[in-house]
């Protein structure tokens, strides 16, 4: 692995030139796959993430069916070549946890009771990783759900915030994630201000935590606009076809 840079932040400027509360360039495209019912591709800084949605379809195996509502499956998966040291294929404890909290981050906006006995299956592939893959995945999955026409109350937007060189920073890059002091992924329903994912690793004072939370809110608002735009573009494109 590369060595720790001497400084992560120089005079308020981060390694990639951003300020503390700026986000990386984000490119969102909806409807990029043919087989899936809905899909989304995001390039977010150095992250390249693909999300696909299948369903609502019959939940299987049958004993998983819920007679009152649809179940959600969420699979976060890193491609072997997405990180510097090859990742062994298959789920590990980290991806099991991420899949769980991501599923719970999206559940609040889905009208699950419309589709009893069904399953809504969300697959997120991390093709290239550069910190913030779980929040990029949730953001992509949210667009893919909308692209699949799944009834939703709202979009969910997600972003990571954390601490590096003692400063609260929005949208960590890999170096800040590896050598920083805290990482806090957040997902929100931007319109209502409700939080649907909140995790924190590392150490934050209360003051830093409040600041981080506010940074995250601001970040999610930016992400939300890009998500909406990608869906509009997809709609316009499908109309013009």
């Amino acid at each position: 692995m590369q060595n720790r840079p001497e400084k992560l932040i120089n005079d308020g400027v981060r390694l990639d030139g951003r300020g503390a509360d700026e986000i990386r360039p984000i490119k969102i495209e909806a409807g990029v796959l043919n087989r899936a019912d809905g899909s989304c591709y995001i390039e977010w800084g150095g992250n390249k993430v693909l999300a696909a949605v299948y369903g609502p379809r019959e939940a299987h195996p049958r004993h998983l069916q819920d007679p009152r509502k649809a179940i959600i499956k969420y699979r976060y998966n890193m491609a072997s070549f997405s990180v510097e040291d090859r990742k062994r294929p298959g789920p590990d404890r980290r991806s099991v946890e991420i899949s769980k909290v991501s599923r719970e981050a999206l559940a609040p906006v889905l009208m699950l009771e419309y589709f009893p006995r069904s399953s809504i299956d969300i697959f997120v592939e991390i093709l290239q990783a550069d910190a913030g893959t779980r929040t990029t995945g949730i953001t992509a999955a949210s667009v893919a759900l909308a692209d699949a026409g799944i009834p939703m109350k709202n979009l969910v937007s997600a972003i990571s915030v954390g601490k590096a060189d003692g400063e609260v920073v929005l949208d960590l890059i890999r170096e800040e994630d590896n050598y920083g002091e805290a990482d806090m992924p957040v997902a929100m329903i931007t319109e209502t201000g409700d939080i649907t994912l909140l995790q924190m690793d590392g150490n934050l004072t209360e003051e830093e935590f409040i600041k981080a939370l506010n940074f995250a809110k601001k970040g999610c608002e930016s992400v939300y606009k890009l998500q909406r735009r990608s869906l509009i573009e997809k709609y316009e494109k499908s109309c013009s076809d």
Binding site: K100, V101, P108, M188, T205, E206, F209, K217
Partner: protein
């Protein structure tokens, strides 16, 4: 079916109680059940503790081994946290490798310990690049009546404060040494039931809730871990108040260590 109806009835009951500002067992919203900590009960382990929070019963054992460090941290020891949700503890637990709940439980406990730097990993290094202490924290759930994370985190920290590294047995020193503990992160969990926040939810309360928030705080009041669980959402504005209550309740639990 009757099982479903029963659990719905129970959920309704809990819900109505809480809406009336009441709670099973007459507890206040931010009141824990009885908490007991018993240390050093497993002689074979390097450290151990059994924690009961009400009827919830958790045993944590610490084993230490000599092994190689990770290649990217050659001068640091290793902590591995594992939770066994053995089917003895609940009719809903199954045999087999840990499912997502077990994995999440272990990881939340683990991250609280790491985030607070409670154990100085550098002190676990015996020979940089080749020989370090590997500390296994094994959490064994014995009886499940809700709030497993707080009980597991408390049992793990209690067991760590009770741990002696077996230098003699591994022939790496002439005296066994107590594991050095630098902080005491405490996890506190609350559930949102119909918009009301209650701490230390018992199992029936957990079943009536679809959102829980675990906040781990340190001796100095810093936050060293947060995990939102469950398929619900929390209003943005509620968070900081929960963190405040967590810090205060953690202070009380910390005295039990």
């Amino acid at each position: 079916m009757s099982e479903d109806i029963l659990s719905e009835v129970r959920r309704d009951y809990i819900y109505r109680l809480i809406k009336n500002g009441d709670r099973i067992g007459g507890r206040k919203a931010d009141e824990y059940r009885d908490v007991s900590v018993e240390k050093g009960i497993i002689a074979r382990a390097e450290g151990s503790a059994r924690v009961k929070i009400g009827n919830t019963d958790v045993l944590a054992g610490i084993k230490a081994q000599i092994g190689e460090p990770f290649p990217d941290t050659p001068d640091k020891g290793v902590i591995i946290t594992n939770a066994e949700l053995v089917p003895l503890a609940s009719p809903s637990f199954e045999t087999g490798p840990p499912n997502e709940n077990g994995v999440e439980l272990a990881r939340v406990v683990d991250k609280g310990i790491r985030g607070s730097k409670a154990i100085e990993l550098e002190k676990l290094c015996l020979d940089a690049g080749s020989k370090v202490w590997i500390i296994f924290i094994d959490i064994h759930i014995l009886d499940h009546d809700g709030n497993l994370i707080d009980a597991s985190a408390l049992a793990s920290m209690a067991a760590l404060t009770n741990t002696t590294l077996p230098y003699i047995r591994y022939e790496v020193g002439e005296e066994d040494e107590a594991l050095l503990i630098k902080d005491t992160p405490i996890a506190t969990t609350c559930a949102d039931i119909g918009g009301e926040i209650v701490f230390d939810p018992c199992l029936d309360e957990e079943n009536a809730s679809n959102i829980e928030l675990t906040v781990t705080t340190n001796a100095n009041g810093d936050i060293s871990g947060i995990q939102k669980r469950g398929a619900g959402k929390i209003p943005f504005g509620d968070i900081s108040q929960i963190v405040d209550s967590s810090r205060r309740l953690a202070g009380e639990l910390r005295k039990k260590l």
